[in-house]
Amino acid sequence: MAEEKKYTTVSIPKPLYDKIKVRIEGTGFTSVSDYVTYVLREVLASLEEEEKEEVFTEEEEEKVKERLRALGYLD
C-alpha cells in the first residue's frame, strides 16, 4: 500500500483558534487540532444517531421471532 496522507488542513478563524487554545489548557487535549477532531467526531456521531434505525424485512423478523420462541426467549 502506498503511504497516503492521513491528515488534511482546514481553516478556522484565528480568534476561535485562540479561544480553543486557552480552553484546552490543562485538559487532556494536546493541540487545537486534537480538540477540533474530538468535537467534530462527537457532533457527527450524534447526527448519525438521529437517523432512522435499520429495519429487518417482516419475513426475516418473523423467522427470528420463531427461533426466539423456540429457545424460550419469547412467549
Partner: protein
C-alpha cells in the same frame, strides 16, 4: 431505540443455501487454509455482525490505522486488530480460498491483500508491552509471518455445544424490540456470579429498561469456571433473584486478548452490535497481571466521543458490615475494618472444599448449582 450497529449497518456474511452448496461441491478447486480456533470464532463473529462493520479480516491500511489511531481507516473507532495470519504464502492476492477449522470448511475468503507486519510493534501498541508472559503478547509472537486481508462468507457454523444460549445480533435486536426495551445495559463476564456482580448489574439496571448478561464462552485457562457452570449459575440467579421482564441471558463465543483498555472498547463495540445502549466497564476490565491500571479502561472511553454506546463506570463493590449491604467506596462512609471484599480466589477455594460461603458473598442457590458439578473448573 436500541443502538445502531457500529459503523451504521449490521454486517451479515452468510450465503444463500444454493450458493453454499455450489461452493462446497467445488471445494477441491480452492486453495485450502487451516485456521485455529480463535480465528474461526472471529470469523463467526464477523459473519453474524458481532464485529460490524468488519466484513472480513483487516487489510494493511486498516490494520495500521487500528494500531496507530485505534480507528479503522474510515475513522470508525476500532481498537483490536482482527487479523488472519498464515505461516506460508500458498495462494495469491485476488484468489478465493477456503478456510478450514479441523476438517470443516467454514468460510470462503476473497484475498484482497497478503502483507507482512512487525510482531513486536503489534504487541507494544495493542498490549502496551512485549513481555512474553502476557498471554496476548505470547500469541502474537507465535503468529505466522503474513497477514491476509479480505472479505469472508460463512459456509458452516462451528460446532457449538451451547447453541441454545447463542443469540446473534439480529436476534438480540428483535428480542429487545419485542420486550419493549429502548435502553439496554450489557454485562460481559467469564465468571460465576457473586454478590458483587449482582450489585453492579442491578445498580446499572436501575437506570435502563433491560439487562443483557452476555457471558463469553470459549477456550479457557486452567482454573477458570467451565462454560456450562457459568450458564447454570446464571440460570439459577435469574430464576430466584432477577426480574423476568427486565433481564436476559445469551452467550457469545470470543477469544480473550487481555488487552485491557483497548479490549474494553472492543467489548463495548461488540455489545453495541447486539443492540445494547450501555455497557458496564469494570475495574481492570479485560486486564491480566499488572499490565494496566485498575481504571485505565475508564479513561480510554473519553477518547471516543463517537463510540455510540454509553459506558457505565461502576466502582468495585464490597460488603459493609456497618451499612449492612453491598456498597462501593463512593457511597459508603465507613472504615475499611467494616468492609468485606469478595475475592474470586477465596470463593473458588470454598467451592472446592464445599464450605458454604456467607450469603453476602454468593447466593446459596448459586453455590448449590456450582457445587453440583463434579469439577466446575477447567483442568
Amino acid at each position: 431505540m436500541v443502538s445502531k450497529p457500529h459503523g451504521g449497518r449490521l454486517v451479515r456474511r452468510l450465503v444463500a443455501e444454493r450458493t453454499r452448496e455450489r461452493i462446497l461441491s467445488e471445494q477441491k478447486e480452492y486453495p485450502h487454509v487451516q485456521i485455529e480456533h480463535g480465528r474461526a470464532i472471529d470469523l463467526e463473529n464477523i459473519a453474524h455482525g458481532v464485529y460490524s462493520p468488519l466484513k472480513g479480516f483487516l487489510t494493511s491500511d486498516d490494520f495500521e490505522s487500528v494500531l496507530d489511531h485505534m480507528r479503522l481507516s474510515d475513522d470508525t473507532p476500532w481498537t483490536i486488530p482482527i487479523v488472519l495470519d498464515v505461516r506460508e504464502k500458498t495462494f495469491d492476492e485476488g484468489d478465493a480460498i477456503l478456510l478450514y477449522y479441523d476438517d470443516l470448511p467454514i468460510a470462503r475468503m476473497h484475498v484482497e491483500e497478503i502483507y507482512t507486519y512487525d510482531k513486536r510493534e503489534f504487541a507494544v501498541k495493542v498490549f502496551k508491552t512485549d513481555d512474553l508472559n502476557h498471554p496476548g503478547v505470547a500469541r502474537v509472537m507465535n503468529m505466522g509471518d503474513y497477514l491476509v486481508g479480505g472479505e469472508i462468507e460463512l459456509l458452516n457454523e462451528l460446532p457449538n455445544p451451547f447453541a441454545k444460549y447463542t443469540l446473534r445480533p439480529v436476534e438480540t435486536r428483535v428480542l429487545f424490540k419485542e420486550r419493549g426495551w429502548k435502553t439496554i445495559v450489557a454485562f460481559q463476564t467469564r465468571n460465576v456470579p457473586h454478590l458483587g456482580h449482582e450489585y453492579v448489574q442491578k445498580a446499572a439496571l436501575t437506570f435502563v429498561d433491560g439487562l443483557f448478561i452476555n457471558p463469553v464462552l470459549g477456550r479457557k485457562k486452567k482454573g477458570d469456571y467451565r462454560d456450562e457452570v457459568i450458564i447454570k449459575a446464571y440460570e439459577t440467579l435469574f430464576e430466584h433473584y432477577y426480574p423476568k421482564d427486565a433481564a436476559t441471558l445469551a452467550t457469545v463465543r470470543y477469544e480473550m486478548r487481555y488487552a485491557g483498555p483497548r479490549e474494553a472498547i472492543h467489548h463495548a463495540i461488540m455489545r453495541k452490535n447486539f443492540g445494547a445502549t450501555h455497557f458496564i466497564v469494570g475495574r481492570d476490565h479485560a486486564g491480566v497481571g499488572d499490565y494496566y491500571g485498575p481504571y485505565e479502561a475508564w479513561d480510554l472511553f473519553g477518547e471516543f466521543p463517537d463510540l455510540g454506546i454509553t459506558p457505565m463506570f461502576i466502582r468495585e463493590s464490597f460488603y459493609c458490615r456497618k451499612c449492612g449491604g453491598m456498597v462501593n467506596a463512593k457511597i459508603c462512609p465507613h472504615d475499611k475494618e467494616f468492609h468485606v471484599h469478595i475475592s474470586g480466589t477465596k470463593l473458588r477455594k470454598m467451592i472446592m472444599t464445599g464450605e458454604q460461603p456467607p450469603e453476602y458473598m454468593m447466593r446459596p442457590e448459586v453455590f448449590e448449582v456450582v457445587r453440583s458439578f463434579e469439577n466446575p473448573f477447567v483442568e
